[in-house]
Symmetry: C2
Subunit: 341 residues, 2 copies
């Protein structure tokens, strides 16, 4: 990270990963000490207490705070959409980006409720990835460039960043990534995405199974898996996760496609996602299976399957609540409340 030019190769991505900061133990210790003094039975705020400690640990400060939240939605197009794997035509990616910019999408409304900024990043929508049923989705320079682009989305001074994606056919890419990373059959990882019918689901499953088999020998490491089966917006999400770690910005990951992109990093280093929360578990069946592999417990189980960071943004107020309780509650001493008898 000593250079100003964007990453241009996977070796440079690995070099960033090697520099990853670990947890801030001093902040974690300070959080635990304060938590025990607050006017409630020990542990009574459950996951809110865990979240406050986790935020302190990964923001590297105590008390933690969520004042400046940012949401980043990465949009990309997928050559594999030509195989009829989605219920929607590929031009919907561009149309939805216009909808984001006009303020009409779900993520816009959710950002207002959560008081989050919103940035939308287009990854050359007129130039989709290659159709991965025919050829590797990206070359190394294109994939590394998309990672670098995602890294730039992490501004300084953010207290949390919510990540999400828009890309017709990207649950096909997500399922392929998961099959390649974790094994099993395509049927284990596939789902209906935006809502394909039974015939579409069969087609999608076959496309994934065949593509993973076709590229198997060439996918010698997780970044090669991403290059062969991923997409530009998914590579950008991976980049944003990388940059957020370097910036000590905790991350909220959205649904299946977003988590699958992050899982590539986890496959490189099992601690690479320690600064990330899974905001929700999607109804896309592969997502729950993926969360088991990542050993991550989602914050919400709301039956979402929209993407566009919607579930990640929905969870921001939960983090604010954790910080508010941890930072602003009275202690037993301050409030003159008796402890256990």
């Amino acid at each position: 990270m000593s250079e100003d030019r964007p990453l241009a190769s996977f070796d440079e991505v690995r070099a960033v990963l090697a520099e990853f900061p670990g947890p801030d133990q001093a902040a974690a210790t300070a959080a635990a000490a304060r938590e025990g003094q607050l006017t409630k039975p020990a542990g009574a705020l459950g996951r809110l207490e865990e979240l406050a400690a986790w935020l302190a640990t990964w923001q590297g400060r105590h008390p933690p705070r969520i004042e400046r939240a940012q949401t980043a939605v990465f949009a990309g197009n997928h050559g594999v959409a030509a195989q009829g794997v989605s219920a929607y035509p590929a031009e919907v990616t561009q149309q939805m980006v216009a909808n984001f910019l006009a303020g009409g999408a779900a993520v816009n409304q959710l950002c207002k409720v959560a008081d989050s900024g919103l940035r939308v990043y287009e990854l050359g929508l007129e130039q989709p990835t290659e159709d991965f049923s025919q050829a590797p989705a990206m070359d190394e320079a294109g994939c590394a460039g998309a990672i670098a682009y995602g890294m730039m989305a992490v501004e300084g001074g953010l207290d949390v960043i919510a990540l999400g994606e828009m890309g017709i056919a990207n649950t096909t890419s997500a399922a392929a990534l998961c099959q390649a990373l974790y094994g099993g059959s395509a049927a284990d990882w596939v789902g209906r995405g935006t809502g394909v019918d039974d015939a579409g689901l069969d087609r999608k499953t076959q496309v994934i199974e065949a593509a993973v088999a076709k590229h198997r020998a060439a996918m010698t490491d997780p970044l090669e898996v991403l290059r062969h089966l991923g997409g530009f917006e998914l590579a950008a999400i991976l980049g944003a996760v990388l940059a957020a770690r370097m910036a000590r910005t905790p991350v909220l990951l959205d649904g299946y496609a977003c988590t699958a992109a992050a899982a590539v990093l986890h496959a490189l280093d099992p601690h690479a996602l320690d600064h990330c929360l899974i905001a929700h578990v999607s109804v896309e069946p592969g997502h729950r299976r993926l969360l088991e592999r990542l050993d991550k417990k989602p914050l919400l189980d709301f039956g979402l399957r929209l993407g566009e960071a919607s579930g990640a943004v929905l969870a921001i107020p939960l983090l604010k609540a954790a910080c508010a309780c941890h930072g602003d509650m009275a202690t037993f001493a301050e409030a003159s409340v008796s402890g256990p008898a």
Copy 2:
């Protein structure tokens, strides 16, 4: 509800229940029609879509909105605390009320995050209920009076009301209510509350088992169950649930004690809680079992066991998110987004 004086008898409570308004089908139909036009795959917002439709149905208007949220915390003392069923001494109820009024408790911080008003209602803390291991907790006039007091907490013009309680020993009361309403043994319904040790848990279980047996013959209907085993703050919660239905104000119920109070109404009329959501499932084991009996799915599973409406308030932003998406997203036509191919 045609009289201005408070309720003074259970017959009057039953009379209110008999007047309960049903769902607003016109609002529900309008919500379903709009939902299908919004720029997302059908059903992709999962539970947020259900919540928007539910809010429209029980607010009796379309679109639904959450602009004016109120939180009501009812505090009462329990004679059964003398049996050593809580980890905390009874004076903590009063001390925590002072903490609420001073702004130092969890619920104060959560109300700020959720932009909710907060009112705390004390039910004669210097006069606890009778110790229900010895005598009925309340007489009918006292119980009906507490119900009436709770009804007054529901002001006009609220878009949602979050209900909660504070009362040392009230998880003992909650478990006793559940055993009396649903059967089983005390062990099926008891938990550690604020954190009793093993000996305290045994004592609590025995107190409940004996009290339910002692009063069994006299508990001829659910309101008599409440009178024998409940508490003033729990009766007040039941009253607030009643008044909210009449006012078309949807309700967020907090944890075990709060839900047990509402369950008394459900036992009188299985549709009596149709305007109520369960905000979260508590770690108190009886709560999950109770939600199965009520056939209610909680919004959050956050390992909370604090009470004081904390979980209910935590869920308010989720309702705001549902309203914002439903009310403010663009339609496919407005945004010129293509439908399924």
